[in-house]
């Protein structure tokens, strides 16, 4: 196992688990994971376990966020095991070992198995003032961003830190939200790009870009999950594994210093910045990715 000089800024959920699991499959492990434990629920902003003493509160909040952030992948696999098997079989074409990776992501996931050192920090969100100094406490280096919101100056401006991000779209052509679905509609196949984060939306210095083969999940005559489940399934399995594959295959082995990899500058006037898809266009994109299946309300 090769230890990389890399801090993973962990936002609990399928994406960070896909990154760590895929790294382990490829024989890599980061030197440090900094797991953000949210002291407030993201949806309501209410404090989690406010009545509990410090250490106990953090453990309770970690347990709560595990359940919340992994709710959809867990529920989808429990309710539609064959559907997830079909997805895993197809994703295997771009990321061999996808079924095992999904098992690992949804299993008893212990961060300590994946890094030399795991730190936990109780924060309100990514803008929390405690986060920057904690992240910078071990000196300069590369940090893998795994989600949780928009990264702002409190972190981007920390001296010596460079944030790696994998975007699910071929840059500079596809910027913005719902990159996987926009790529399907506009380019006929998915793409992914890794860059050093900067102030704009997906405009940082490019490290690697890749087009992947178009995947289609053929549901045959099985029950077709509803649109929300299909959408959630993409972001529970397909999207995180696609990003992890690019990271492992094209970035982690590209140089010894992950904070100083060779880059290309993007031309901000090229490509299009997309916004999240309206449900009507979302359904159109999902129909291109998930073929067949019998709708639940179809006559028997």
């Amino acid at each position: 196992m090769k230890t990389l000089e890399l801090t993973v800024l962990a936002h609990e959920g399928p994406q960070v688990r896909a990154y760590l699991g895929r790294m382990r499959q490829a024989g890599y492990r980061p030197s440090r994971i900094l797991l953000m434990v949210y002291s407030q629920t993201p949806a309501s902003g209410k404090p989690v376990g406010r009545w509990l003493p410090g250490g106990l509160r953090r453990r309770y909040a970690e347990r709560v966020q595990d359940m919340v952030q992994n709710f959809w992948p867990t529920r989808i696999r429990r309710a539609h095991p064959e559907f997830v098997e079909i997805m895993a079989g197809e994703i295997d074409r771009i990321s061999p070992g996808a079924a095992e990776l999904i098992d690992e992501m949804l299993g008893n996931f212990a961060y300590e198995r994946y890094a030399e050192r795991v730190d936990r920090v109780l924060v309100r969100n990514l803008r929390d003032e405690a986060l920057g100094p904690t992240l910078a406490s071990r000196g300069p280096g590369a940090v893998l961003f795994t989600g949780g919101g928009i990264l702002r100056a409190n972190l981007l401006d920390q001296p010596g830190l460079r944030f790696l991000h994998v975007h699910p779209g071929f840059l500079p052509r596809v910027r913005g939200g719902d990159g996987l679905l926009w790529s399907t509609l506009v380019r006929g196949r998915p793409g992914a790009s890794c860059f050093y984060m900067a102030g704009g939306i997906d405009t940082g210095e490019l490290i690697a870009t890749e087009n992947f083969p178009a995947l289609q999940f053929d549901l045959g005559d099985r029950a077709r999950p509803d649109r929300q489940t299909l959408y959630r399934a993409l972001f529970s399995f397909y999207d995180p594994i696609l990003r992890a594959e690019l990271l492992v295959r094209r970035v982690l082995g590209a140089g010894e210093d992950l904070a100083a990899l060779p880059t290309e500058t993007q031309d901000p006037s090229e490509g299009i910045t997309y916004h999240f898809l309206h449900p009507a266009l979302q359904a159109s994109a999902l129909a291109r990715i998930f073929r067949g299946g019998t709708p639940a309300d179809a006559p028997q």
Binding site: V174, L185, A214, T273, Y274, H275, A280, L281, S284
Partner: protein, 158 residues
Amino acid sequence: MPVSQTRAQQLLEVVTRELPPHPASSVDRLQTAEVLVGLADSVGNPPDADERRHLDALCRKLQVARRVDDAYTPSWGKLPEATPLPAGFWPLLIVCLLARAESGPEADEDARGLALKLLNAGLVALDQAERVSGVAHTLELRAWADELVAGIPAAAVA
């Protein structure tokens, strides 16, 4: 002329005829209605850089800010005294987006992407317009948008 292009022209004529009066833009105040009239004049032609900037800004207002105001700063910043775009201009806003939401088979990737982005914004605008009291033609506009969604061709693999 494709059916949807004919429909675009017909709806454009109707909603332009019904437009309420509106003030002109000034050095420090961009009037949304005036921008829409300008965009309507160039329907049928690929947008130039300035039109593209306005279309991008309208998409952002609809989808990120989730509201469209009657006026902005010249760089599409928020004005403290701005009020929501009046109902009489919503049909023109939607036509300006949907009329550019179809790309021909010869369109390159960015032209196709822009067309779909504008269709997406047009659908969002329709949803918002249906919540504003007194917006005309929403049924015809909805039917047109549905037709455009149904006609999205498969993308050539890039």
